[in-house]
Amino acid sequence: MTPSAALRHLGLRAGADVPAIRKAYAALYKAMDPDADPEGYARLRQARDIALRAAKVAAAPPPQQPVEAADVPEETAAHPAEPWLYGAPTLAHPQAADLPLLNAGAVPHAEPAVLAPQPIHAPATPAAALRAIAGPPLIESAQPLRADVGYLAHPDGDLARLLHDPEAELGPLTDEQDAFAQRCLRVLLAEAATADLTRHARIEEWLADLLAETWPRSAPLLRPSAEAFGWENERGQITERPSIAWLNARLRGLRFQDKVTEPDHQLHKAWTELTRPGSATVIDRFRVKRAEINQLLEGVRKHFPELENHFPRERVVSWDDGAAARGQGFGVFRIFGTGFTFNSGYAISVVVGLQILMAVLRGIAPDPVAPPANVFGPPAALASPDPQFITIRDRALAEVFGQGTTIERLREQQASLASDFEDRIRASRREGRSEAGVMADVLEYVRLRAQLDGRNAQGPILRKTVALRLAMLDAASKQGPDLCMRVLKMEKMQDLVVPDEIRTRERALAAEMVEKGLLAAPKPPSVTSARIPGALIGKVITVTGLPEKRVRDAISNSGSPSDQCKVTRALLRAALDGQGGAEGTALLRVL
């Protein structure tokens, strides 16, 4: 339902304000029997909600320019400086300047990385990392003396600095550091316990982010934090927040570790064996049952991948070799045993939203070189009817959205898209493009928008969007690695010959998204980075048959176009097959 249709439903004219909408809604509601007509009631509620939202937006001050807004760090934009903001300089981290400044709307680097690797243990989003270091002002500097926890001036900043380890060289906290970190944590938790809900939520989010970003150094702080905020109550809920879900999984790993280190645990022997340094000797192999080693490794890899940190690689590999020598199928060890060198942690973090970001900038943000928007001609509604234009437009509509789509319907369902669509056609024609050229231009435009908006969508649409991208990459790779690279970066895709079957899917998806009102003016992607679980890397290695180093290079955006193309396709395929969940969804959004 569009805002104008919503207003019509309520019997109102365009421009109606909030009180008028409420009054009209109340009158219609009182005149009906919702129990007799629940669907009518649902439509009425929907119309009211849409109309209210539109009226509130109209009443609000105009939004800032997208690029300007993007330059403002997220945190500052969301939370204006508070009076008791304490001096950020005292919190400046020596490493801060070295971290790549990649916040969501920033202009990409000169060489757009397809898959830019992050240093081991680095936070998922550098912007968030800086936030963690510079820290939102969680604790007033004039913190009163607390008898129970002692006085700490900047427990949040100190804690963030202590935990942060972008080079992954510090290892676990020492006893002294741990004691200090626990003290900082106690102050923060005490603060949260007495804070109002907004502040409580901020401290909770900040802490959850920090723990996740600095894992595994932050491990000793997880349990007290989870207890204080009741994170485990959220476990397994439909609405479990992604960061909390991730931490809850780590928490279960810690619990498992507690149990398995007890001598009466059935896998205790296997655990002790695998945690020893050096290779396993023949005697070792007799002492512990292979089945138990197998069970432990499989279980750990499936449920608590981070615990594999505790097993020296040499040890794992020595068991693997023993198995290989006997001709047993332990291929999985090889992949993981070596794949392990990716990092010592559980997964690698990647920032892979860049090519999408490029598309956003090309598609919507004012392009410094492109002519200003009004060159495209007068607004669609005022355009003089040009029969040739109408013919091309209607053909383009059929080509992009399928037969039977009219511009009127498009305007009704997605007004901004309709006018942009017509503007693109005019611009292409003015450039003297042939009819086929116009078609290609407008198709590419909608394709970009669909790919962008599809990434911000939920569930099935997101999957369809990504599956379509994979299909196009597959088609492109048949036409050579260079074209595949271009499709990867979503630029100059006109040469791409898309098979009819894929075109049909694309058309259906575009129509579905229009139907659901999802092809709105594209926003910057909601997620710009994700973690690639070790298991997926393993799959990619198996599927592509490439040596691990080449896979790693491809993910790091170096290596040959052919490798990059192969690896990305394999990764996409593995991600689409994945179990979903918050992490899987985040990965789909960035790939």
Binding site: R22, A26, Y29, P34, G230, G236, Q237, I238, E240
Partner: protein, 568 residues
């Protein structure tokens, strides 16, 4: 005449829409609140209300309180020699309330609006409806307690209101609702709650904290479990009430001839309840998240439920919202008054012509489903939501499901309520099976329609695409499995119970109270109270109304002087 009934964990109340306003109806003792307690005497006489509550101290083995916490479960409570279902006990309370209404209105009410905690699940709602039927009432509607309170608060004047939050902490349940009122429409935007958190839990926490202090030798251990629990619970309740008005309280238990006491401070109480206070935050945060409101956008914070009187709870609320809550509504009366307003709405009272109430379904409803995992295996028991929580009701939604096996013969839909991704973490409400034509996997399927009405009754329709076969299931839970005759039989059985005549209510309640206070004292004082009781019993035996009235007045004075504390 439709009455409104607040069937609470600790106290219940009955009300009616009369003379363009909601009115509470007093019980035989002249009080607006009737304790939700039932006790059975050795001779089979049944006590309900204040007398039953006092008998908890003297006859814990034959007295039940807080049975609302077990509504919707199969759990039975043993009173004397008989097992009782929570519905039966609730029905007795409802019947006592109807007796009061009959005495007040001149005719017996036949229809009622009964309130339930918003976070009561489907089974608990069904059990409540069932209790009403057992009490001889037609339950016209179940209304959520915070919604009822919102009605009472919202209709205090004609003005529109900023979104307000109803914070309802009762004896056994905790609900939060965010409500808007405009143009006479009282609209609930989101509800959340914890149906296992209430004043009783604060008693338990306090008792657990105090027990080692008051009884370092472990003498309580030797007592009968039920007696011990009743004693600790009562000691905690008394101390908790005292802490509502003072900084310190005495926690006291009497074992044999010894009265053991320990002092408890407000700070100690707060520390003992730290976890409970923390649990108050979660539903509030969830409700705010669900309707995308910020704390700053809320107008009033309306406190409902007796447990919101606790200073430690008020302190926690003030911290949570960064402001003081609104005390304009009576925390014990608001829900019953709201129920009367809903009763007035249902009888289309002209004074309420311009008023409407819109509620939400506070939990997610769906079916179990199978998903394919990355290895091509089947993952069973995945919850597939059809109606999301906090959807406006009434609502009707359809979802589409397909077969997962070749030549599958039928599809079984298990219906669940809850928020967990795996159905095993949710509450099973029922199941419905439909035959499907034999086709390859995924080529046969069915539409599942969930319809959830204003009373919270769920109806499920399943239509098979290929054949058009439709099956309907009204999830009516236990109530439906009983035939009308069985319901009638149980109703009659309850009706045959022996009660004291209504005009004796005051004497019965006073006697129970005297016996309870007797238990609290030792030595000379106890013997003295025993003498007073004997005297009062003698007066009752005389059957001389004047002498009884005199003796009653005297005993009341004596008891008050002895306990020195009207809170006892």
């Amino acid at each position: 005449m439709i009455v409104g009934i607040d069937l609470g964990t600790t106290n219940s109340a009955i009300s009616v829409w009369q003379d363009d306003a909601p009115q509470l109806i007093p019980n035989a003792l002249g009080e607006m609140l009737t304790p939700s307690a039932v006790s059975v005497g050795r001779d089979g006489t049944t006590y309900v209300g204040a007398a039953a509550l006092d008998r908890l101290a003297t006859q814990p083995e034959s007295t039940a309180t807080s049975f609302k916490r077990y509504m919707g479960t199969e759990r039975k409570l043993r009173l004397g020699k008989k097992d009782w279902r929570p519905e039966d006990l609730s029905a007795l309370v409802l019947r006592a309330l109807c007796d009061d209404a009959e005495a007040y209105l001149g005719s017996r009410p036949t229809e009622a609006v009964i309130t339930v905690p918003a976070y009561f699940n489907d089974r608990q709602r069904k059990a409540t409806r069932h209790a009403g039927e057992l009490a001889g009432l037609t339950v016209r509607r179940l209304i959520n307690e915070p919604t009822a309170a919102a009605l009472a608060f919202g209709l205090q004047d004609q003005e529109d209101r900023e979104p307000f939050l109803v914070f309802d902490l009762g004896g056994g349940t905790f609900d939060v609702s965010i409500v808007e009122k405009f143009e006479g429409v009282v609209e609930v935007r989101a509800s959340a709650g914890d149906n296992r958190l209430g004043g009783d839990d604060f008693n338990t926490a306090l008792a657990a904290r105090m027990r080692p202090l008051v009884d370092p030798e472990g003498r309580l251990e030797k007592l009968d479990a039920r007696q011990r629990e009743a004693m600790l619970h009562r000691a905690a309740e008394t101390a908790r009430r005292q802490l509502s008005v003072e900084d310190k309280a005495t926690f006291a238990v009497v074992i044999g001839e010894d009265r053991l006491t320990a002092e408890v401070s407000a700070d100690m109480f707060e520390a003992a309840c730290e976890d409970l206070l923390r649990r108050l935050r979660e539903p509030v945060a969830r409700a705010l998240r669900d309707c995308a409101f910020d704390v700053a956008e809320l107008g009033d914070i309306v406190l409902v439920g007796g447990s919101t009187r606790m200073p430690i709870v008020r302190k926690a609320i003030t911290r949570m919202f960064g402001r003081f809550p609104n005390s304009n509504v009576h925390p014990d009366h608001a829900v019953a008054l709201g129920a009367a307003i809903q009763a007035g709405l249902l009888s289309r009272d002209a004074a309420l012509d311009e008023i409407r109430i819109a509620d939400v379904c506070p939990f997610t409803l769906g079916v179990d489903s199978v998903e394919r995992d990355s290895r091509g295996g089947m993952q069973h028991g995945v919850f597939s939501p059809i109606i999301d929580r906090n959807t406006p009701v009434p609502v009707s939604r359809v979802s589409n499901y397909r077969t997962v096996q070749d030549n599958q013969k039928e599809i079984l839909f298990n219906i669940y309520q809850g928020e967990a991704r795996e159905v095993s973490g949710n509450i099973h409400l029922g199941a419905i099976k439909v035959p499907v034509p034999a086709r390859p996997a995924g080529e046969a399927g069915a539409d599942v329609r969930f319809s959830y009405d204003s009373s919270g009754l769920l109806e499920v329709d399943v239509t098979v695409h290929e054949t058009g076969v439709t099956r309907t299931l009204v999830i009516a839970g236990e109530a439906e499995t009983l035939t009308d005759r069985e319901v009638a039989a149980r109703r009659d059985a309850l009706a045959k119970l022996k009660f004291h005549p209504r005009e004796d209510a005051e004497n019965v309640a006073l006697m129970a109270r005297a016996e309870r206070i007797y238990e609290d004292f030792v030595g000379e004082e106890r013997r003295m109270i025993g003498q007073w009781i004997t005297d009062f019993a003698g007066a009752l035996d005389s059957q001389d109304p004047r002498r009884i009235a005199e003796a009653r007045g005297l005993l009341q004075q004596q008891l008050e002087a002895a306990s020195g504390n009207s809170l006892l």
